[in-house]
Symmetry: C2
Subunit: 112 residues, 2 copies
DNA sequence: CAGTATCCGGGCGGATACTG
DNA sequence: CAGTATCCGCCCGGATACTG
């Protein structure tokens, strides 16, 4: 059995498919602080409209975020994490823990 | 303060830089079962020599894997996870948990 | 066996302009 | 405001051939 076929690896593969790309993680990070509008995310991250639109569509299709249209004028659209998406925070937490332990962003590189 | 500058988000960004791409996660998954040779990984994953070479170099540069040359004939090279790399398993575990909860690979998989 | 060297096509992501 | 529509450069990743 090829390792690539292991259930674990397959999950990883699917997760990459969903969250892969340059911006997905960042966007989800954004939404963890609460629902946000299209241009809000855009300005915060400095992502192009096309890219943002693409990623949001993908995330919505995978049940990670919801898209809510507020039909006031001017029209606004709010994106929010689903439970599925918000539950992924567990992974982010582990990532941050790992980052804190092994990555140094500050100047004082004492590497070892 | 832009969300993109949050320490959390920055860690995520760095992690993406290290583990981003199509194969990094899969390779690390591979190595969790123990050290492996170049062509072993290659055959298991079905990745091209160039891609594998590139990714391994990147992972080595980031201190995720070690490269050990066994100078017997024919020469063999073993790749293994460093502590830093192996420590990332925590993240994989969380990913798998998330995957088991939220992803369904339909076919009566009795995973694990 | 473990790579390097090339070449190449596709797709991702950015920039810009435009629409409802 | 929230996108869509284009265009485009770049780089990722694959295929193949070759080397020590």
């Amino acid at each position: 059995m090829r390792n690539a076929d292991h259930p674990c690896a397959r999950f990883i593969r699917q997760i990459i498919d969903i969250f892969g790309g340059k911006w997905s993680f960042a966007i989800i990070c954004e939404l963890h602080t609460g629902p946000k509008r299209f241009n809000e995310i855009r300005n915060d991250l400095g992502i192009s409209t096309k890219s943002l639109s693409d990623v949001l569509k993908n995330l919505e299709a995978n049940g990670i975020v919801t898209r809510t249209v507020h039909s006031a004028a001017p029209i606004t659209v709010e994106y929010a994490l689903t439970e599925k998406g918000s539950d992924f925070e567990e992974v982010f937490i582990k990532m941050s823990e790992w980052g804190m332990k092994w990555l140094h962003q500050s100047s004082s590189e004492e590497m070892r």
